[in-house]
């Protein structure tokens, strides 16, 4: 069940129940022929997998030291804990979803993911479908060749997935799944927008967990769950009065399902996270896929949306990340930014000083770097850092 041990709120109750049933539902469906395709990074269009009649599962599990340590059977202790964890879960098998996989899709994002891919191909019998990915996030569209390349790679992925599914993936099926995913994205976006106001019926934490539930639940059912949540919220009173709490934005390396140590510490310290720039959070629902015209090629539409979302730091174009962060800080009236870098995550860590200076100089917002891994050993120091940060921003009046 998603959550850190705190009692489920009303909003999440139905969803959590549904989520707890998911692994057994998937097992049943597999017996009837359903294939489960795992993927790690949000550069893989789920739409293709759904259009092929298969179930996409985003394998973004983290926060546990056991699989991260098992991953050292392959990787070194100074490789990314998330990457070690992905391999560790597959190796030790104590994850409800890893053992349901029929294949995985891997986009060539960062080196750590590349390591996961190579060991996966060599050690696990589950097939790997790779997707080539340009690393220049080309904000000014001065490199049209990157988009061309990505489109053709998506066509190749479509072909390979179709072959695996046993039938070619039709354009009209892709359009249908685009429509489904767009609806999901719209509803999730609304959830993330609520905390812009100080009085909000839903906390960011819950929107975050809901998003993550959407990595695992059959997408049609997930849309139904979102509708239920929407109805719940329509009649709801304010849950959190954010007036006196310090408003925070969290950005950084992947926060996997289960990696809630930092989030919980912030909450305990009295901080209120209202926005994020996480690839497992609001970025998944940012931007719809837009097909231009009735005869528009859905692959082109997918390429546009997936390549030109806010880029992961494995891509260049630092400026887009800086701008986007400043935009969100402004829109959500954020007082401070928490920059969570997983230990040994070079792509995120290397940009911290640049982000900190930018936020400080341009919009006078402080940021706090927290480097951590999946070990609970540093809880004390992190708590002190967060509390000191909140004291620094808000003063000590309470």
């Amino acid at each position: 069940m998603i959550g850190s041990g705190q009692p489920s709120k009303n909003i999440l109750q139905h969803l959590n129940r549904r989520l707890s049933e998911e692994p057994s539902r998937i097992s049943e469906a597999k017996q009837k022929g359903l294939k489960v395709i795992g993927y790690f990074c949000p550069y893989i269009p789920e739409e293709l997998i759904i259009a092929a009649g298969m179930l996409p599962i985003r394998l973004a599990f983290g926060g546990n030291i056991e699989p991260a340590t098992s991953g050292e059977d392959f990787l070194k202790p100074y490789n990314c804990p998330f990457a070690r964890s992905c391999l560790g879960y597959q190796l030790i098998g104590n994850n409800d979803y890893h053992h349901l996989l029929d294949a995985v899709c891997m986009a060539q994002t960062c080196e750590s993911i590349k390591l996961v891919q190579e060991y996966w191909e060599n050690h696990f019998s589950i097939p790997v479908f790779t997707l080539g990915l340009p690393h220049t996030h080309d904000a000014f569209r001065s490199r049209p060749q990157a988009l061309e390349y990505f489109k053709l790679e998506l066509e190749l992925l479509r072909k390979r997935l179709g072959h695996f599914a046993g039938r070619p993936i039709k354009n009209r099926d892709i359009r249908r799944s685009i429509s489904l995913c767009n609806q999901i994205r719209e509803k999730l976006r609304l959830l993330f927008e609520y905390p812009q106001k100080h009085s909000t019926p839903i906390e960011w934490y819950d929107s975050f967990r809901i998003t993550q539930a959407g990595f695992l639940i059959n997408r049609r059912d997930f849309l139904t769950e979102l509708r239920i949540i929407e109805r719940e919220l329509a009649g709801k009173e304010t849950v959190v009065d954010g007036d006196r709490q310090i408003r925070l934005m969290v950005i950084g390396s992947i926060i996997g399902i289960g990696d809630y140590k930092i989030l919980d510490l912030v909450k305990e310290a009295g901080g209120n996270i209202v926005a994020d720039g996480m690839c497992t959070g609001s970025l998944t629902s940012r931007k719809n896929v837009t097909i231009f015209g009735i005869m528009g090629n859905p692959i082109d539409a997918l390429a546009e949306r997936y390549l030109y979302n806010v880029p992961c730091p494995c891509m260049t174009d630092l400026d887009k990340r800086l701008n986007r962060t400043a935009q969100i800080v402004h829109a959500y009236n954020v007082d401070g930014v928490i920059y969570y870098s997983l230990r040994f995550c070079d792509t995120w860590r290397s940009e911290y000083q640049l982000m900190k200076d930018y936020l400080h100089k341009e919009i006078h917002i402080p940021s706090l770097l927290i480097e951590s891994d999946y070990s609970p050993a540093d809880i004390g120091t992190i708590r002190t850092k967060i509390e000191a940060f909140l004291e620094m921003i808000g003063g000590l009046t309470e």
């Binding site: 708590r383 002190t384 850092k385 620094m392 003063g395 000590l396």
Partner: protein, 267 residues
């Protein structure tokens, strides 16, 4: 009736308490934290009460800080040692803009603005070689001298031994072989101080050195480390003289407690 407040700084190595009245009079006590820091917090607070012959009821507000603050159930509120060191250092010397606190198990650098508010901070908790523990283990395991004597020893050094290892464990091995090869204890201690100073200096540079700079915490009592740091950072460093530097955090906590009362948050 005098308004008394208390600050209890429960560190991982030592627990300190300070009782403060409105005229700036202070009573202090310090004990080792031992294996049960929360207990040490209570004990040192009790000791301080006894020293000033105060009653618990006289203390209007207690703030706990430090590593063990979370479990100090006798306190009215907790505040981090960052804010407390900032407050305490600024009270002692209002020109303080940078604070370097080397404690038993971590090291901190704190940046203040003109009003004495914290504007930036760094905590180094990953590496033992920039903390008091490095000195302690060297004193105990390698040199076999009391910790308090290190400062005096380095003052007599004729040269500075170079300890190149950045890791505590390897550094100890290196120190042992240096001693065996004939390096004098004084010179070795000078090298040790230089080593810890360069770790800490690196941290301070990241936050920016703004004068005046004050050192707090137990290691500030080691004149050798202070001198080495002055050299590394090329800036003057003051050490509180009116109060044992180990109590700066507790002082800050007691001062915050006064603020709390004035703002009406007393319990």
């Amino acid at each position: 009736m005098d308004t008394l407040t208390a600050g209890v700084d429960i560190g991982s190595t030592t627990a300190k308490a300070l009782i403060l009245n409105k005229h700036g009079q202070m009573w202090t006590a310090i004990i080792p934290s031992g294996p049960k820091p929360p207990l040490a917090g209570k004990q040192v607070f009790q000791l301080t009460l006894e020293k000033g012959q105060h009653l618990l009821a006289d203390i209007k507000f207690i703030i706990a800080t430090g590593y063990g603050r979370v479990s100090a159930d006798f306190a009215n509120k907790t505040v981090t040692e960052i804010a407390c060191h900032g407050c305490g250092a600024y009270f002692i010397s209002p020109t303080t803009r940078t604070i370097i606190d080397i404690g038993g198990q971590d090291a901190k650098a704190i940046s203040l603005n003109e009003q004495g508010k914290v504007i930036d901070f760094i905590i180094n908790d990953k590496c033992a070689s920039g903390t008091g523990r490095f000195l302690e283990s060297a004193a105990q395991l390698v040199l076999n001298v009391p910790l308090e004597e290190l400062g005096g020893l380095s003052a007599k050094a004729t040269d500075k031994a170079t300890i190149s290892s950045t890791c505590t464990v390897f550094a100890q091995t290196e120190m042992i072989s240096l001693l065996a090869s004939g390096v004098s204890t004084e010179n070795l201690v000078a090298g040790l101080h230089s080593s810890i100073a360069s770790r800490v200096a690196s941290m301070v540079k990241r936050i920016g050195i703004r004068p005046s700079v004050m050192m707090t915490g137990g290691v500030a009592k080691n004149a050798g480390v202070v001198a080495a740091l002055k050299q590394e950072l090329n800036v003057d460093i003051t050490v509180p003289s009116t109060l044992d530097p180990q109590f700066v955090g507790a002082l800050g906590a007691a001062l915050f407690a006064q603020d709390m009362i004035e703002k009406g948050s007393g319990s």
